[in-house]
């Protein structure tokens, strides 16, 4: 017996506590069950790509900061790597190590935000603040290095803006030792909490073929069970020198590729990033931090697509150069943009509360979605 019911359209956002920014989700509901989800984006569109066409190559760096503002350092990193690939230059050893250290610290900080706000989405307030206390320590390290706490403009094409502070390595080591036990604490408080598992396991399951077809990358793809990490599969910078694992979703609490897996892959990545950091601190050589590249960067005409493993997935820069000082066309493959497009697929048949759980688990930053 089918009862005809009227569908209700619920606008979630653009101003809503758990859309992680100005995102509008148009939910078609039948009772509390989702029939369809239409994400509407663009509220934070800042024309990065248009701006880039009017800037010289070094001038673009601060603009990249503002895309994924939770992981600015990695945006710089990806941009620098791509332009260097286009220019065909090598950067000094020390720069590479600094970049890796910064990148991994940024990954930890970014995952902290992701995990913390995920707890918050599900009603657990305390883990959020615990994680932010620790994130503060990373931001202090960044501030010490480049003076900024959120938008760094630190990794430049051909080098980094400043050398490390003399105390930096010691303090980072201290941070690693301090932070390691906190991962276990997070697991106790949130990951293995019965209610948390109930809310996330078997919710928003992303089968591997769907994930690949929708272009998922990073933790979201790995949670679906594919061991794919650009740091391992297509090593850029000096990632091939470090020994670390690529955690994948195992469906420990439910199905492979559910929200809990996506959450837990990030937790496991914290550990791996700490591991990389330790090795990088051991190996970092002395040296120059700005290679001799001309002030006016004028790459040859051509195209390049460079991609790095940003905390949220594959961050790609597609640059077309026409031989002038400005990029002819710059397209950013923002991981959050791609991840968000699967929302409609994942949410169907779930409840309103699950939308929050799913949205939180794919971990988007609206600055990057809209660019």
């Amino acid at each position: 017996m089918a009862i005809k019911t009227e569908e209700m359209v619920l606008n979630m956002g653009p101003q809503h506590p758990s859309t992680h920014g100005v995102l509008r989700l148009e939910l078609e509901l039948e009772g509390e069950i989702i029939k369809n989800v239409k994400p509407h984006i663009g509220y934070l569109h800042r024309c990065f790509e248009k701006h880039a066409e009017a800037m010289t190559y070094p001038q673009v760096v601060p603009y990249t900061d503002r895309m994924d503002y939770v992981a600015s350092m990695y945006n710089n990193f990806g941009y620098a790597v791509t332009v260097e690939k286009l220019l065909g230059i090598e950067v000094p050893e020390r720069v590479e190590y600094i970049r890796v250290i910064m990148g991994e610290l940024q990954r930890i900080a970014s995952h902290m935000v992701a995990l913390g706000t995920y707890g918050l989405d599900l009603g657990a307030f305390t883990p959020f603040l615990y994680l932010f206390i620790d994130r503060e320590k990373i931001l202090n390290l960044f501030e010490m290095t480049c003076g900024a706490r959120l938008l760094y403009n630190y990794i430049w094409v051909g080098g980094v803006s400043h050398d490390l502070h003399p105390d930096f390595l010691r303090l980072t080591k201290e941070f690693i030792d301090y932070y390691r036990p906190h991962i276990a604490e997070l697991n106790e408080l949130l990951s293995y909490n019965k209610i948390f598992i109930e809310r996330t396991a078997n919710v928003g399951v992303m089968p591997l073929d769907t994930a690949i077809n929708y272009g998922m990358t990073g933790p979201n793809l790995r949670a679906s069970g594919l061991k794919f990490d650009l740091r391992k599969d297509e090593p850029y910078s000096i990632y091939d020198r470090f020994d670390f694992d690529v955690p994948v979703g195992e469906g420990k609490m439910g199905t492979v590729g559910d929200c809990w897996d996506r959450y837990f892959v990030r937790v496991l990545e914290l550990e791996q990033s700490l591991k990389i950091l330790e090795q990088a601190i051991e190996q970092i050589p002395e040296g120059d931090v700005q290679s001799a590249i001309p002030k006016r960067i004028k790459p040859p005409a051509g195209t390049v697509y460079g991609r790095v493993e940003a905390p949220r997935g594959e961050l790609g820069y597609f640059i077309i150069s026409d031989g002038s000082v400005n990029p002819f066309r710059m397209k950013v493959r923002a991981p959050s943009f791609v991840s968000l497009s699967i929302m409609g697929e994942l949410c169907k048949g779930h409840l309103v509360s699950d939308v929050v759980a799913i949205l939180g688990s794919i971990d988007i930053v609206l600055g990057e979605v809209d660019r």
Binding site: C47, G215, T303, Y305, R329, I342, D370
Partner: protein, 177 residues
């Protein structure tokens, strides 16, 4: 693991009726240019063929090639060639770990390119973005709306085109303030 050159050869073998070109003299990456109206078929082939398995579309970018020029005809009159708009497809195979870049160009006055949304779902939003920014019309796309720009943005105004000019007014508000 295949090089773009080999992929180019196998494409030519498979689709004899379409034109393929390979642009290799660029720095960094070779590009295979394909027929814009049959991209979806080529896409299906690339994705499903056992030797290629390009299951992942890394990025799809629309580009205004900015190559408008005047062509002199035989009778000395000039006609405008409006130039082309292109779409770049960066493909990757998660199983075979090889990459290839495709390029499909369409004339600017009628920029129609077949949608690959059916092949790679991720193309959905990328194509909407290319439509939104460059103005490429993707045929058979299920939901070709603006994505980043407001829905009430001028229908024929595409911000990332090289000949784009800022509108004077938007919703009655003067724009260059």
């Amino acid at each position: 693991m295949k090089q773009p050159k080999e992929i180019f050869e196998s494409l030519k073998e498979k689709f004899t009726e379409y034109n393929f070109e390979i642009i290799e003299d660029l720095p960094v990456e070779p590009i295979i240019s394909v027929d814009p109206l049959n991209v979806n078929k080529i896409g299906f082939y690339l994705r499903l063929d056992a030797d290629l398995q390009f299951d992942s579309l890394m990025v799809l970018s629309g580009v205004d090639d900015n190559n408008a020029k005047k062509i002199k005809q035989e009778d000395e009159t000039e006609i405008d060639d409006p130039g082309t708009l292109s779409v770049y497809y960066h493909l990757y195979s998660t199983t075979l770990k090889h990459k290839v870049t495709l390029k499909a160009s369409a004339p600017k006055d009628n920029p129609e390119i077949e949608s690959v949304e059916k092949v790679w779902k991720t193309a959905d939003w990328h194509e909407r973005e290319a439509y939104d920014m460059i103005g490429i019309k993707f045929l058979n796309h299920p939901d070709l709306r603006r994505i980043l720009m407001p829905y009430d943005w001028d229908e024929n105004s595409f911000p990332l085109r090289k000949d784009y000019e800022n509108p004077e007014f938007y919703q009655g508000i003067k724009v260059p303030y």
